[in-house]
């Protein structure tokens, strides 16, 4: 197992390196004109030249990339070109907001999708039909539309929740809960409907397998068959779906954070990318890659734990 984890971590580092080099190269071409963007449309060419020198934009690509890499390896991700705020501190204040939201949504999705998916697979009939229809409806309504709908109904009309985030040090933790409720609901509806559908299929597939028939013929109870055998075998499919949803959610959360004005990674990523604020974009990309690597690793480990067959292969 340790060898497996080490191997996964090693390949993760290679991915991290390759993605950083590619992103840096892509951004390099457009960063030449950043000085002008920072200074605005009334800046003189002399001002622009001075700023370029200040930011090291007059250096060639390779020099700049390795300077960034050396700094990054020593834990220094640089500072935003526009705000001078250190990238590490930007990430440190924003990652908790986004991660709280994503992980809360993910846990709820896992619980709800599993319950609904298994119920649909086992009961079939009308429960199954509702889940099927729900999956189509859920998949066809984007999260941000749900977000706007929730704000209009629950925040503006009924006043149950704040329309935009009220997260700040002057208010207590309950403000976090209030601020996060609507965004989390907006994020999880697609996940629950989509996840339930996938888990349903996986469970049905297992229920139709020969070993289930054999177990039944030996007089083993349905409950035991379901919880001890079927769910274990169906788990890898479910986990894969959930991990894909989590990674997809890193993109979806960007729009949700904009709608609810949450100070998370989304607005930072959008602003920094729009401005070609290279140090910040690099920070955001590194964070995303690390999350993806960690999530995949966790899913592999969980799969191995749940299903010995996976460990062997």
């Amino acid at each position: 197992m340790i060898k497996f984890i080490a191997k996964r971590l090693g390949s993760g580092l290679v991915v991290l390196f390759v993605v950083s080099a590619l992103t840096f190269t892509l951004l390099y071409t457009s960063s030449g004109s950043i000085a002008r963007n920072i200074l605005g449309d009334q800046a003189t060419p002399e001002q622009v030249a001075l700023k370029e020198q200040e930011l090291g934009l007059d250096q060639p690509l390779v020099t700049r990339y390795f300077a960034w890499l050396a700094d990054a390896l020593s834990g220094n991700l640089g500072a935003s070109w526009f705000t001078s705020e250190p990238v590490a501190s930007s990430l440190a204040t924003r990652i908790p907001v986004t991660m709280t939201m994503v992980f809360t949504a993910m846990i709820l999705i896992a619980i709800c999708a599993a319950l609904i998916g298994v119920a649909a697979a086992v009961k079939r009939g009308w429960v199954d039909r509702v889940v099927q229809v729900g999956a189509i409806v859920g998949d066809s309504i984007p999260g941000y539309v749900i977000g706007v709908f929730l704000v209009t109904l629950l925040a503006i009309q009924l006043g149950f929740f704040p329309a935009t985030s009220t997260i700040s040090p002057e208010v207590g933790p309950e403000a976090w809960v209030y601020s996060m409720t609507l965004p989390v609901i907006a994020l999880l509806i697609n996940g629950v409907t989509g996840g339930a559908q996938q888990i349903r299929s996986a469970v049905i597939k297992q229920l139709e397998r020969d070993y289930v028939r054999t177990l039944r013929s030996r007089g083993i109870g349905e409950r035991e068959i379901l919880f001890k055998h079927v769910l274990r075998s169906a788990a890898p499919a479910g986990l894969t779906v959930l991990s894909l949803q989590l990674i997809g959610m890193l993109g979806g959360v960007v729009i949700i954070e904009q709608i609810f004005a949450l100070p998370g990674m989304g607005p930072l990523a959008v602003t920094a990318t729009g401005q070609s604020d290279l140090p910040v974009v690099m920070g955001v990309v590194m964070y995303t890659v690390v999350v993806v690597i960690v999530v995949n690793l966790l899913v592999d480990i969980l799969n191995g734990w749940l299903n010995p067959k996976v460990r062997v292969s």
Partner: protein, 508 residues
């Protein structure tokens, strides 16, 4: 227990409503901001990049600085300049030296005293800090301390807008010890009506200020607490306003409808003009644009009134001139200089010899796709092809400077005469990338620069020249739509989409 479909549905509805009621226990937890008349919460478009006063910008990007910093000169809502930290100011006979008398009873939030040395330190810092508005003091050669409460600002060339600049970014005064330090980037140290509460502020989410004890001018300090909530997304701003989270914010025509539905009040103000910039006037890349008749034909092709009504929901005023109403350069006769006259446009094209042979490439301005396609249609009606290209990107300003575009559709700020001239007309202007000029125009520009108090009037000649020569095809002055609730009175500020911080007061 087995549940039938109806029972299950009922249980679901019941549990959902219970959940809602439970959550509703704290109803309005986040909407108390602005409830008390002693606090003001504003929705702003973006967080500022640095609290160093030399990094301040114009318009809505100036407002946060006004909370923490005083300016030397106060700009009243109608644009009139009044004393603030400067009690009086006077030019010498040649307009090359401005002598400024200063207040003696003002301290900064760190306890330092405001005096002539502090004012000089600020202006010197502004000149070398390479901020976005550094050009405001471009013609200042040096600043001399005359005595404790007087400075001389010496100019290398006349600058009619200098007094205006001293009411803007260049006039913001920070504590001299803090200037140029890293600390002032995140925590302002000024003499303004409010001090920032850093503990309650969250970068890119909200900035909280509290009233400064013993502030010298109580008339400008109308609230005990001021919160600037950063709401980048217009939908989020609208939701925050109608749900009472913010007292006032800037919206657009589409979102404005929703705000009006919620009985919010509108303060409309014209700050930008919108239209085509016909940049390649010597035909370096597009020979047709060198012909004044082609440029005039373009101007006659547009039915400005209908476009405004249909595309902009009527939020603006049709115009043929690029200079704004508050600049002094605006004239009635130029307002409808180019009437909607397709026949005349066709005639002009015929006379130019470019009939059926004019193609104009413009980049696409995100958000203006509909407008550009309407322009395309109207130009096609007179025989001109408008080809919208790729959307502008974050390299836009550099692309303009590099002569990438020979024409473009854009919205531009209508500033003071010299500001506008150096933005769109003079050879220094970013939006004159081909450096077009004539001796006649140079003489008119020079007259404005040395015109002192008459600069606005003299700029009318520059305005007339660029309108007659059809340097641009302006369409309309766009309404900036600033909405507020009934707890606050708001006075719009000339040439600013967002009012100055002094323009808000509790509604009685």
């Amino acid at each position: 227990m087995k549940l039938g479909p109806k029972a299950a549905a009922a249980a679901l509805v019941l549990s959902a409503s219970l959940a809602l009621t439970a959550c509703g226990g704290g109803a309005g937890a986040g909407s108390n901001a602005g409830a008390a008349p002693t606090s003001l919460t504003l929705g702003t478009l973006r967080d500022i990049t640095s609290w160093d006063p030399a990094q301040a910008h114009v318009g809505h990007a100036l407002q946060p600085y006004q909370a923490a910093y005083d300016t030397l000169i106060l700009r009243e809502p109608d644009g009139k300049l009044s004393p603030m930290l400067a009690t009086a100011w006077k030019y010498n006979d040649t307009n090359t030296k401005l002598t400024v008398d200063l207040r003696t009873d003002v301290t900064f939030s760190d306890g330092a005293k405001f005096d002539a040395a502090a004012a000089k330190a600020n202006l010197d810092h502004f000149k070398k800090a390479n901020g976005p508005q550094m050009a405001q003091l471009g013609s200042v050669s040096d600043i001399a301390v005359v005595d404790d409460d007087t400075i001389d600002i010496n100019l290398s060339a006349e600058e009619p807008a200098l007094e205006y600049f001293l009411s803007q970014a260049a006039g913001l005064m920070g504590s001299p010890q803090s200037l140029g330090t890293d600390a002032i980037k995140t925590l302002p140290v000024g003499s303004g009506p409010y001090v920032m509460d850093k503990a309650a502020s969250v970068k890119d989410s909200q900035t909280v200020f509290t009233a400064r004890d013993g502030y010298w001018n109580k008339d400008l300090q109308k609230y005990k607490k001021l919160t600037l909530k950063i709401l980048t997304d217009p939908t989020a701003r609208t939701n925050a306003l109608v749900s009472g989270q913010v007292d006032a914010t800037l919206l657009d025509p589409k979102n404005g409808k929703q705000a009006e539905g919620a009985k919010m009040k509108l303060e409309a103000n014209q700050v930008d003009w919108s239209g085509l910039l016909l940049l390649d006037r010597e035909g370096t890349k597009n020979p047709a644009l060198a012909n004044v008749k082609v440029r005039q034909a373009i101007n006659h092709a547009f039915d400005r009134k209908t476009i405004l009504e249909q595309v902009m929901l009527g939020q603006g005023t049709p115009t043929s001139q690029p200079f704004g109403k508050d600049s002094g350069a605006w004239t009635e006769e130029l307002e409808n200089y180019y009437s909607y006259d397709p026949a005349k446009a066709k005639q002009l094209l015929k006379e130019s010899g470019f009939e059926g042979n004019v193609t104009i490439d413009v980049p696409t301005l995100p958000g203006a796709e509909t407008l550009i396609s309407v322009l395309q249609q109207q130009l096609a009606d007179v025989g001109i092809t408008l080809k919208p290209g790729a959307a502008i990107t974050n390299t836009f300003t550099a692309d303009v400077a590099a002569q990438k575009y020979h024409a473009l559709f854009f919205n531009l700020f209508q500033g003071e005469p010299t500001v506008a001239i150096d933005q769109i007309v003079s050879t220094k202007a970013l939006y004159n990338p081909f450096k077009n000029t004539t001796p006649e125009l140079e003489a008119k520009i020079q007259a404005v620069r040395t015109g002192g108090k008459d600069a606005g009037k003299l700029a009318q000649d520059v305005n007339k020249y660029v309108v007659e020569q059809a340097w641009f095809a302006p369409l309309f002055r766009v309404n900036q739509m600033y909405y507020h609730n009934d707890k606050v009175n708001v006075t719009p500020q000339a040439q600013q989409a967002v009012p100055s911080i002094y323009n808000y007061s509790p509604a009685k």
